[in-house]
């Protein structure tokens, strides 16, 4: 976990310096909106935030990391949440609960989160970086599933569930970004439930593939 400074050095040139990661995000997002993500440099963001370049890097390791906010901390939270769920809870139900929880935000955070996700999902230049963050997210799911079904986290079944869960979450996010009001956590919940129901609809018996979840 990277350290988050509680205070930043003295402002330069009379600007009021930002003093939190979230404020720095807002400043950066305004610049991205105005001049585009790719054309905005770390120096631009630092200048607009009234902080030095070095201070910027105490908040974020790179420009690409800005839209991801506190992602590492959030992943730790999701891991803890999953581990705390009762072992008798069905696997996909546990994942649904964890995903919904992971994507539940206080009303005052929603605006920032919307801007964040719009950037992440709609900026081509961010795609390569995003795959690394997605992989870290999937890893949490893979490890949970592997543990539950007694397989390595990188075996086919756990990895499949990791990719599927990510796909569901992204589908819900895209739906959410299309509308102004839709409640994100309700969409996540509905996405997982609807997919589960789609499988309940007359599935052919499994073939010779070993029953990984049996």
């Amino acid at each position: 976990m990277r350290p988050v400074p509680t205070a930043v050095p003295v402002a330069r040139a009379g600007r009021k310096p930002v003093t939190s990661r979230a404020d720095l995000e807002h400043v950066a997002f305004d610049l991205f909106d105005r001049q585009g993500f790719e054309r905005t440099t770390v120096d631009d963001i630092a200048r607009a935030a009234g902080i030095g370049r070095r201070t910027f890097f105490r908040y974020f390791p790179s420009k690409n990391d800005v839209p991801w906010g506190n992602f590492d901390t959030e992943l730790d939270r999701m891991r803890i949440r999953l581990d705390a769920l009762p072992p008798q809870m069905p696997l996909m139900e546990a994942i649904r609960v964890a995903i919904v929880d992971f994507n539940t935000f206080a009303p005052e955070q929603i605006g920032l989160h919307r801007r964040r996700m719009r950037l992440i999902l709609q900026t081509p230049a961010l795609q390569a970086h995003s795959t690394l963050r997605y992989a870290a997210w999937r890893q949490v799911i893979d490890e949970f599933v592997g543990e539950r079904i007694g397989q390595c986290a990188d075996a086919l079944a756990p990895r499949t569930v990791g990719y599927v869960a990510l796909g569901v979450a992204i589908a819900a996010y895209e739906q959410w970004l299309e509308t102004d009001e839709a409640d994100l956590s309700v969409l996540m919940d509905s996405a997982m439930r609807q997919l589960a129901a789609a499988f309940g609809d007359g599935l052919a018996p499994a073939g010779p593939a070993p029953g990984a979840f049996g």
């Binding site: 696997l91 996909m92 499949t160 990719y163 589908a171 309940g200 599935l203 979840f213």
Partner: protein, 208 residues
């Protein structure tokens, strides 16, 4: 890579497409293979469209009749798979449950064999090494998912951009991608059974 003559050495001459209409897909695939080798040898950013066209013995204009961008030249096989997926899904038995129909179609069109592995691996490596190629690849993956979403929407009598068709498309793609990654990691057997295994694992997870 400005010296087109140098990179063109030894490359096969491709026939010029005759008139408007459908372009020969074999040529599209030959062009893809040339692009893949040149990107791998010299780096994607270093290869110009002029050099690519010259290596293939065609003009820049003709190149653009096959592909709309340099990055797209890498995706000919994938684009073909998308079109096959569309037609296999369209012809699927209406009595087959939706998720089974999708699984059958995904397995049927991804009939990669061990001998195709090198090319597929080469594309994945290029996408891994170059953010622009990765971003472009993701756009083509979106097409694949759109095909699945349209099929699911038809079955469900919903719009393709409604939540459930989108969730199905993204999750099926995710499962198929997990199957592909698993296959690339150990190269045992053909891809089809691995995809079938991944899509069954998804179904099983939801029923467990």
């Amino acid at each position: 890579m400005d010296d087109a003559g140098k990179t063109g050495a030894g490359a096969p001459d491709l026939p010029q497409p005759a008139g408007p209409g459908r372009l020969p897909s074999t040529t599209r695939h030959q062009l893809q293979d040339i692009a893949m080798d040149m990107f791998s040898a010299h780096g994607y950013d270093e290869v110009t469209i002029e050099a690519l066209a010259a290596a293939a013995g065609i003009s820049r204009r003709t190149f653009f009749r096959y592909f709309s961008s340099k990055a797209d030249a890498l995706m000919a096989d994938f684009d073909t798979a998308v079109e096959r997926l569309r037609s296999v899904l369209a012809g699927s038995d209406p009595d087959l449950p939706m998720m089974d129909a999708i699984r059958h179609a995904v397995v049927a069109v991804n009939d990669y064999r061990t001998e195709d592995l090198a090319r597929l691996r080469q594309r994945m490596q290029l996408q891994h090494d170059n953010p622009a190629l990765l971003a472009n690849g993701i756009l083509h993956y979106e097409e694949w998912q759109a095909v699945v979403a349209e099929f699911a929407a038809g079955r469900l009598s919903q719009a393709a951009d409604d939540l459930l068709p989108q969730v199905i498309a993204r999750s099926v793609f995710g499962a198929a991608y997990a199957g592909l990654m698993s296959w690339l990691a150990d190269e045992r057997g053909d891809l089809g059974p691995r995809l079938d295994g991944a899509l069954r694992a998804m179904a099983e997870a939801f029923r467990a």
